[in-house]
């Protein structure tokens, strides 16, 4: 299993070419795509995520690791799809209507994909109706919303209202994040969970999907 450890180590160092080459070697040696995913790629992303949470590494380190993760994923994804191995769950994410700040939201998406979830990223300036519509269409069970502006965060409440009106609250759960929002705000507007950073978003998604 040295090759699996190497995938994880190279991923943490952000060495995308080495991750791709080790992933290919692992596949050639008969290691399953699922093992490479869980014990190599996701393990590496978990470690870098923990280090980022503990302020041991910086944002660019995480993003370089994410690129390395994708380099490995590109090789194993066709095999996973062919063998019918599904993702850990689907999440729709986006920056709320009226807001274009999406770097934080992008990081959440990258970390969630790194943790093995299927992420449908709607980009920025996403209407409340669009969030719900896409979640219904794709069968996503979580909607993640982000805002940077105090003047746009109120739009998040509309998603909760629509879900309630369509009797989907409880079936499609909601998470919010971004500089102006808080645990208290999430509770005030009826959102299920507040996430303070990208690593925490992964923990919350795991909790909600457990």
């Amino acid at each position: 299993m040295d090759i699996i450890n190497s995938i994880s180590t190279q991923l943490i160092s952000g060495n995308d070419k080495d991750v791709a080459s080790d992933t290919k070697k692992a596949l050639d040696s008969g290691i399953s795509a699922e093992t490479i995913l869980n014990d190599g790629l996701i393990m590496g992303m978990n470690i870098i995520g923990d280090r980022f949470r503990d302020h041991e590494v910086f944002l660019p380190d995480v993003l370089m690791a994410a690129k390395a993760m994708y380099a490995g994923m590109e090789l194993i994804k066709p095999i996973l799809i062919k063998s019918g191995i599904s993702s850990r769950g689907k999440i729709v994410i986006g920056t709320i209507q009226g807001d274009l700040h999406d770097i934080g939201k992008n990081l959440v998406g990258i970390m969630l994909k790194g943790a093995g979830y299927e992420v449908i990223d709607l980009g920025h300036d996403v209407s409340p109706e669009k969030f719900v519509e896409v979640a219904k269409e794709t069968g996503a069970t979580i909607i993640g919303m982000s805002a940077l502006l105090t003047t746009t965060m109120a739009n998040m409440k509309e998603v909760v209202k629509i879900l309630k009106n369509e009797n989907l609250d409880g079936k499609i759960r909601t998470i919010i994040g971004g500089a102006p929002v808080s645990d208290q705000y999430a509770s005030d507007i009826g959102v299920d969970k507040y996430s303070f950073d990208a690593g925490n978003a992964v923990d919350i998604v795991k909790e909600l999907m457990a």
């Binding site: 660019p60 380190d61 209507q97 992008n106 502006l149 003047t151």
Partner: protein, 238 residues
């Protein structure tokens, strides 16, 4: 006065510290070579793709009041509404870094170059702030040349989306200034294209008018604290 500004490229180059702050990296951090190299690559792309342009136009207090008035005839509850009448001169201002840099950031993310895309995004955001500061300086110098201001006057910009001014205020601001002349458009949600653009009102007046207290309702949830940074900028000049 309404003028398209030829902005010197040097005026919109941000400091490394400003960029790293946007990356969440504290100023006292020792940057690993990997991050320094990443910054250099992103900065080189920034130099190649930026196309800074500005547009400034003076506005009367009556017109600004109209811009700040929402449906029903009420003026919005915001920092700017509370203080613009204390200003002696007002101007609308927009700034953009152009389409190429925004497209490049999107393309980098699409190609999984997250770190490079994110670094370039931070450089562009810090640069756009520099563009705003250029507008402020331009307006103050313009007024000085006219002899309209005293030495203790300062000009600062206040933008829709911040300090209680709803982002939809951008639509009215656009109707007055018409930034299509420098290639900026606005969508239904009042967001600008190219993305790396900023807009606002520059208020010139005695510096004390900018020393605002954080006693608005929206200050309780604000984590940006742009107002404190603005005040610090004035104080640094003292």
């Amino acid at each position: 006065m309404r003028e398209i500004l030829k902005i010197p490229h040097d005026a919109v180059i941000p400091d490394v510290e400003e960029v790293m702050k946007l990356q969440g990296i504290p100023s006292d951090s020792i940057l690993p070579p990997k991050i320094t190299d990443l910054y250099k690559r992103a900065f080189s792309i920034f130099i190649e793709t930026k196309d800074p342009k500005g547009l400034i136009g003076e506005v009367s207090a009556t017109d600004l009041e109209n811009i700040l008035t929402i449906a029903g005839g009420n003026i919005i509850n915001s920092v700017i509404s509370s203080m613009f009448k204390k200003g002696t001169n007002l101007a609308l201002f927009v700034f953009t870094l152009g389409t190429e840099i925004s497209d490049t950031i999107n393309n980098l993310f699409a190609k999984n170059e997250f770190a490079l895309g994110s670094m370039l995004d931070s450089i562009a955001s810090a640069s756009a702030d520099r563009g705003g500061e250029y507008g402020e300086k331009f307006f103050l110098n313009y007024l000085r040349d006219l002899g309209s201001v005293s030495p203790d006057h300062r000009a600062l910009m206040y933008s829709p989306g911040y300090c209680g001014w709803d982002i939809t205020g951008q639509k009215k601001l656009f109707r007055y200034l018409k930034p299509g002349d420098i290639g900026i458009s606005i969508n239904e949600s009042s967001l600008m294209t190219p993305i790396k653009s900023i807009s606002g009102v520059i208020i010139s007046g005695k510096k004390d008018i900018h020393y605002l207290k954080e006693d608005f309702d929206f200050c309780k949830t604000c984590t940006g604290k742009n107002c404190r940074e603005r005040i610090l900028r004035i104080k640094k000049e003292e």
